[in-house]
Symmetry: D2
Subunit: 404 residues, 4 copies
């Protein structure tokens, strides 16, 4: 069927905008306003807040930058839904996001609808490759990042309810990825002077570049991610009770919380392991990738296995040259032993958007790959995810590395 002549073809960016924005709504399908208001810890935001904050991004950085900006939907949202952008004014306290019963979920959904209308109108006029088009793409990537956090945070919120509610009937984190019978095999990489980091196309965050050279010694990288079955062997071998396997801070961390297993695991009265998942409490699938590990646990496991965590440069080199390694993407984020620090030549972008990545470059470790909660189209070899070493609530696991 032909399109009337006076209607322009929806641009690629318009379609992408619609697709990404719709997926956020898909994630909250079936959830109540009460579900979307939960905040179980300062680090895990309510879903309503995620929905509003990602919208605020477009309103603040795109719509407000238009030659004739539309009317602000609600002036109070500027403060309420700012996250950490000190440059655009006062922030509502992170730990108190769960205390916002107003605006309601309905009002936030209305806010999304309003901004989406303005955006689609604006997108009709924004030239490809322009600064604004770049900001729109950044906003969509930003929204995808929050889509993963929505699932990650929701899982934590629900885990605090003794009723252990389910989000969906199927648990994405329970997908098999390895046979427990399988020996953990490694692939050899020769190393040398390698290029690493993003080249510009099609999109990357500023922290993924500049592309630069690193020298790598030869190394081995695991063919797959470590599985639940693998990790149970570590537990059964007393892994959580042996200080020599742990980093000093890790041992303190584990002792203080009397850690005995990954987050969300529990044993029934017959000592069978279960895990709380996005589909509620489930018997643990031994063949799925182990998940919700802190770096401390991942590092202790690696030491126990006579191995180590890879560096992020090793991981990226392997992902580029051997993309057939199973589970690089869409299973679990893989902890590396690289600190989240700027690449040589990195410059923070100017202005509020520039606050995005650079100022977090301390006290965090890099994770590579992507997880079962990462939306389609948000995985790439140069992607640098980062969290403090004690963080467990992410879909975080590991892949082993060794010296040759």
């Amino acid at each position: 069927m032909s399109r009337p002549a006076n209607q322009p073809a929806a641009s690629r960016l318009q379609l992408e905008y619609a697709r990404v924005r719709a997926y956020s709504l898909e994630l909250v399908r079936g959830l109540s306003a009460e579900d979307c208001q939960l905040q179980s810890m300062p680090d895990a935001s309510p879903l309503k807040w995620h929905l509003a904050h990602t919208t605020w991004f477009f309103e603040t950085f795109v719509l407000a930058a238009l030659p004739q900006p539309p009317k602000v939907v609600d002036p109070s949202y500027k403060v309420l839904f700012n996250s950490y952008y000190v440059g655009v004014g006062e922030r509502h306290l992170r730990a108190e996001r769960g205390l916002l019963s107003r605006p309601t979920l309905d009002e936030v959904l209305h806010y999304r609808k309003q901004v989406d209308q303005y955006m689609q109108q604006a997108l009709a006029d924004i030239p490809q490759g322009s600064t604004l088009a770049t900001l729109v793409t950044l906003g969509l990537q930003h929204e995808q990042q929050h889509q993963e956090l929505m699932l990650t945070d929701l899982k934590h919120h629900f885990a605090c309810n003794p009723l252990l509610p389910a989000w969906r009937a199927e648990a994405p984190e329970q997908q098999s990825s390895a046979s427990t019978a399988q020996v953990y095999a490694y692939r050899r990489f020769a190393g040398g002077l390698c290029d690493t980091g993003a080249s510009d196309a099609p999109f990357s965050y500023d922290n993924e570049g500049p592309r630069h050279r690193v020298w790598l010694e030869p190394f081995l990288l695991g063919e797959r991610n470590v599985s639940n079955g693998d990790f149970i062997a570590f537990i059964n071998d007393g892994g959580y009770q042996r200080p020599e396997l742990w980093l000093s801070d890790g041992w303190d961390w584990a002792s203080q919380r009397q850690a005995q297993a990954p987050l969300y695991w529990q044993q029934d009265h017959e000592q069978r392991w279960h895990a709380f998942t996005l589909a509620g409490l489930q018997p643990l699938n031994l063949d799925a990738a182990v998940c919700h590990l802190s770096l401390y646990e991942a590092d202790a496991y690696a030491r126990w296995a006579g191995a180590r965590l890879p560096t992020e440069a090793e991981w990226e080199h392997a992902a580029r040259t051997a993309p057939d390694l199973p589970g690089l993407f869409n299973q679990v984020w893989q902890w590396t032993n690289s600190a989240y620090l700027p690449y040589p030549g990195y410059q923070r972008a100017a202005g509020a958007v520039g606050e995005y990545n650079g100022k977090f470059m301390i006290n965090q470790m890099v994770l590579r790959g992507s997880s079962c909660a990462t939306p389609a189209g948000h995985s790439r070899p140069s992607y640098r995810n980062f969290f403090p070493p004690a963080a467990q609530w992410q879909f975080s696991g590991l892949r082993l590395a060794r010296d040759v």
Copy 2:
């Protein structure tokens, strides 16, 4: 119109039950499920939880004690909506009540309806004066206590939202009670050997008795509660900056939080005082009773005024012999300088209901009277309210006393 012969007259208890239970619903009229889930601090529970917990009381202590108890509405509620009754099983953590998106508000309202039906049926058969009838009355008093807490807690929850939402158009705590021009006058009481504490009829909590004798020296008690206007004079005289006016713990408390005014007060850019109220942010009414004071602030004010707080025995003696003193009830709870401790001969009731009062008899101070948030029919001269001396979120003020 006449009632058919085969339908019994609704008993007094059935009517009272219906009246009290309906008022809880009246309090949440106009609030959303999101509003009812808010929990701004461990001490302040969500309104949904109050609605469910008061219902749980009837299900657990009345319905379950019937010869043929009805089916439990939902077994999980037994844990979720227990508050501090260690005797009836595990409790859901107080600080995490705000993390219960399930059951929903609708489910809780359904729970109320179901229990109300069972209760009305049961009340038709419960003889007046029976143990069960006494428990029903206790349950209604318990619900009234929570009705006050619902407003008190809601005010705190809403105060954490930068939008400062209003519950109703009129602010009950802004009712005038005194002219600021008025000198603070005292009435003289001769004291002597006085009876104090509740006699049984018609109802009192166990902690209000046994009735017993106390010796009182002659004393003066203020004709009215201290007003906002009075308290501003204290502030303007540097009351918050003068350690000699404060108890040592009070000075530490005030220093640590850099207290400068009662909770919920703020000054605009022209230094005019406003207060957050149940009707949102309002210019402060100088003629209303000062409210949301900790005992520390009340005590410092009294010392500054050359007076002191009354003891609870003085207060009760005055309330019985001079009930015309303005504002004894339904303005603000009045801090006394009496610790919340058992009266001579007090015995804890046996069983779970016995956990109700006795075990809190430490680290708390007594407040007397009642407040603008106290439901009708819940005020009496022997009533002992109690909170830790640092608590501010109650509708708490003071009335001065002096030695003769």
Copy 3:
């Protein structure tokens, strides 16, 4: 032998001054400068600090008030050795008293000697009954109070050293006071309208008065203090595991620290109880009064025993009318169920000395009697000791009471 005519007889106050001051030095005999600098928690001060602070009291409140005050020994001591007297200037932080290696113990001893010389000269001229004489007596009582704290604090300091050092060869807290075979007997008191509180002579703190009337119902008071043997029966009966025996705050306190026994108790590998004492680790004497209880533990024990704690008025009435009750004094401080609050008609003294007692009248419970660590001459029926209900490091035990 006769005294030369030109030498005045040492006054009673001069002798008392010398006696009390010498006893402080006796307490540190055999301790090193290192021992005297220990501070194991903010509440427990170094012995060097006690030695200096008690001296500071005389220099500040007596010597400085003389018509011709002597030269201040060291101006810096004014700040360093003030405790909580906000009125006389900035205080060195309580928690950091253990960080004062300068002045040295030798310098503090020199300070004492210097002030003692000035004081003895001054005492020769101070008329009996004068304000200054009253302040000297107050200073001596103050020093005696610190003498008890010196032993109490030293015990806590030493308990933190894995070597468990001993202060003396004999442990005062191990003196037998009851046969474990002995049934716990009570004496009956008729009560009625009784006088309580100190009359002036010979000395009392302001908080012990004014003397006033109280009405007492008839009551029973234990013939002796509860013994270690008694308390073991409570432990063996699961006393620390039964929430119904505890105050709510007490249960939280015990749960949080996983309390299983009084402070300083430990079991050897054959389950025999030992206690750390002022003579090091010792097998527990079952016949000694139980010691180092928090009020929470004392209260739970009393409830378990079907009894209660006495009020302070009951205790004082008994101590005045039945002074033959064993162990009222010089065994253990006996927790009462009275909050530390002002007596009717109590007025804080003016000025810095007036800060002494009144401003602590909140969040504390009264203990009566005296302990094995109380210096001779510092016990009296009206004495009101006071500590928060969680305090364990004092020599605190209990005596049971019951309603008739």
Copy 4:
């Protein structure tokens, strides 16, 4: 004069042992036992503990490994003076080191003397290049590391005393290193594929190797360390009030402690800067290297100056190829923007000594160079010092770097 034929020449290691051990005693010359017991925070140990712990190292790792080990001086020291070696048994809690009045300083000095005698005897027989000889060298380097900490910690301890005591008459941290008039100049380095890390000779810690290749882009490194005068310009330009200059965690850190200047700085009533030094409070020397910065402050300063911190590989390359850069060593430790992580191929040593470095490789940033408190002979280009980014009490400053 000639040495008798039957007396062997003191070996190089015997002489070195004597020299290093004597310097620890030199550091405490003039300090009292009370001074040596101070512990002002968990991270800063008492000097007595340093003296004992360094001795414990030789007794545990050298003497106990001899074919015929001498008698242990005191078995309790094994626990008391272990620091973090989980492998050799229970540790006395770090935060409670200041609570050890026993053993006394005299006993610890005796312990040193005794171990020194045993060691000198043993050294006569230990072959050069043997495992034991290596451990002795490690022990001496370990002691030198603690010698720096002794001064660093003592400064912190003394700073908590309002009397602000001095250790010596001259303040090493006040030595001029730059003229404030001087523009901050850079030197250019071409980078490329460089070797970095220690080769074995004569000594290095395991964390300094293995020697390996890194690729460096061309860079500029400052000719000198940043001075006090430079840093005052940052303060005066509002550096502590501008969030855009700070890492996010750094801004939180500064806000929480209301940081306005480096640790130990204060202004007098005429706004002149003074610093507490090892010689007491002193007017700030503008020409000395700025000191006692956290990484957060160093990083914010660099951003303000349009520069950045160097990486540790850049620093080491510069130090090897341009050793004439002023102040690389013996002024201040220079923060780098490198996380403290293992070099490629790094393996933890086996056993307790292996706990030494590897297990701390998380949550810390690398500092390079050495400071005015570093003992002679303990500086080298490959040396990796490491502390958490918030640490201020070290003699830590910075040198700027820039991209070309």
